[in-house]
Symmetry: C2
Amino acid sequence: MASTSSPIRVAIVGYGNLGRGVEAAVAKNPDMQLKGIYTRRDPSQLQPLNADTPVHSMDVLLSHKGQVDVLILCGGSKDDLPRQAPELAAHFNLVDSFDTHARIPEHFANVDKAAQGGQCTALISAGWDPGMFSINRVLGEALLPDGATYTFWGKGLSQGHSDAIRRVEGVAGGVQYTIPVEEAVNKVRSGVRPELSTREKHQRECHVVLKDGADAEAVRKTIVEMPHYFDQYDTTVHFISAEELARDHSAMPHGGFVIRSGNTSAENKQVIEYRLQLDSNPEFTSSVLVAYARAVHRLAQAGQHGCKTVFDVAPGLLSPKSAEQLRAELL
Amino acid sequence: MASTSSPIRVAIVGYGNLGRGVEAAVAKNPDMQLKGIYTRRDPSQLQPLNADTPVHSMDVLLSHKGQVDVLILCGGSKDDLPRQAPELAAHFNLVDSFDTHARIPEHFANVDKAAQGGQCTALISAGWDPGMFSINRVLGEALLPDGATYTFWGKGLSQGHSDAIRRVEGVAGGVQYTIPVEEAVNKVRSGVRPELSTREKHQRECHVVLKDGADAEAVRKTIVEMPHYFDQYDTTVHFISAEELARDHSAMPHGGFVIRSGNTSAENKQVIEYRLQLDSNPEFTSSVLVAYARAVHRLAQAGQHGCKTVFDVAPGLLSPKSAEQLRAELL
């Protein structure tokens, strides 16, 4: 775990919000070097944050094997990562942010097979949920086995729910915020281990721009009654102008809490809380990916091949500092 | 990381508040078995929580080698652990809660030498600070390199400061609570990265029982002006009766916050907060020790000998669940 003298060479695969976040994050880590961005688009059309960052076509990626220590995959969990991660893990060490919780075991198996075959190290599902929140769920349970874990999300912009709103007839645009119910959070914090329904944990707040001539009440009803997305929640719908949407709702804040509440004896309750308040969800996720890229590089150097998750990574591996320095300064 | 079928056999060395907490914690972990308590006192005089727990003299510990997978050292950091941990690490896997931050590198070196020599695995400085707070300092820095870390303690009973009060002439008894200054915590949470003096971060609150005929004002002055312990803080002293002290101040609550605040870009601040609210400081520390005993057992089984810290332990190693189960249920 000693600090290496030559920088860790990373590359970005896919350049959306997450890719831009990774470019910004690598610049804040002096032990890392960004070798380039690989895109399916025309490389000449892509505008990296730093004009000096090399941009390549995905087609040449395989020929750059040996020039990159770790790939950071910045595609989507629906279509990109399930295909890309197993393909690339046969040739490169990599990290991804695969976040379809239900399909993680399947994704793990596919990536593991490829990485084992190629003697590479791949870490899937890094980010904050899955990711840092998952770590806190595991630690909470391990430290307080007689207890209950609660995850709250928000206040934050939910991409999936915003997309659902925008598909409603009569809607020109809109965003959805997920908001933890304060009463529920405080009850959990008090250590009483309440049973909470979906409705009791989160509220949903929509800001919607109507198309010309659309029926506001019909739109509102369609949204709040939408099965799975909204019907199990208390949802409020605010109608706003296109200007207000652009001015007040283009940031991507998010965050939330993981709270473990448990008893170490009949008399004594203990509460552990992990909280994130994020101005930018994609930039934070990117920062997590970059720190895990460092860990992946070290695991690969130690010959620990195959697929890993955040559960397999010791905290010290994420830091650029040496083990000695960490013990002396931060323990 | 698969769940083992035979229980992990642990033993407690030293039976004070921490030892009692470990006895309670092991009972909440079905994959562990408490083989016994080892004490320097007369074993027949010791009253374990569970009357069936075997109690032995320290003198026989070495002859029980092979019957115990991991020792949990529950002595003090001042006199017991610096001597015991290196001695025992030559023969047993073990975990301790050594918490003299400044002497950790020295303690690590001594324990590492012994553990390497004996092919044993020893983990030092487990607990919450050092321990869980340390992990969050490392993770915070790794995820948000452009940022600042703040540790606040309390509201909680400080053993060291309570002892200092009790040494003052005219004092028959007393306790000291460390209290984070709410204003400072809120400023840090807002993401502005303030520079905070010692006085601005914590207050100290003392509850003191006077000896007959003692001069209250002289006692108060001696306490609030005590170098290092109190002079750098705003300290309030309340005089109470011996009955009030026993009735209202015999619990050992503690806790605190580690907050990392940083920027991922010029526009976007991100705040990570880890918070503990503990009804019982020793019982929580004990629960952490027990979870790390599980990890130590697994590291030893994997042939990873020598001295370790919480920075070297992957989260999954702390859980009784298999890696498959963790990925499916908690990622």
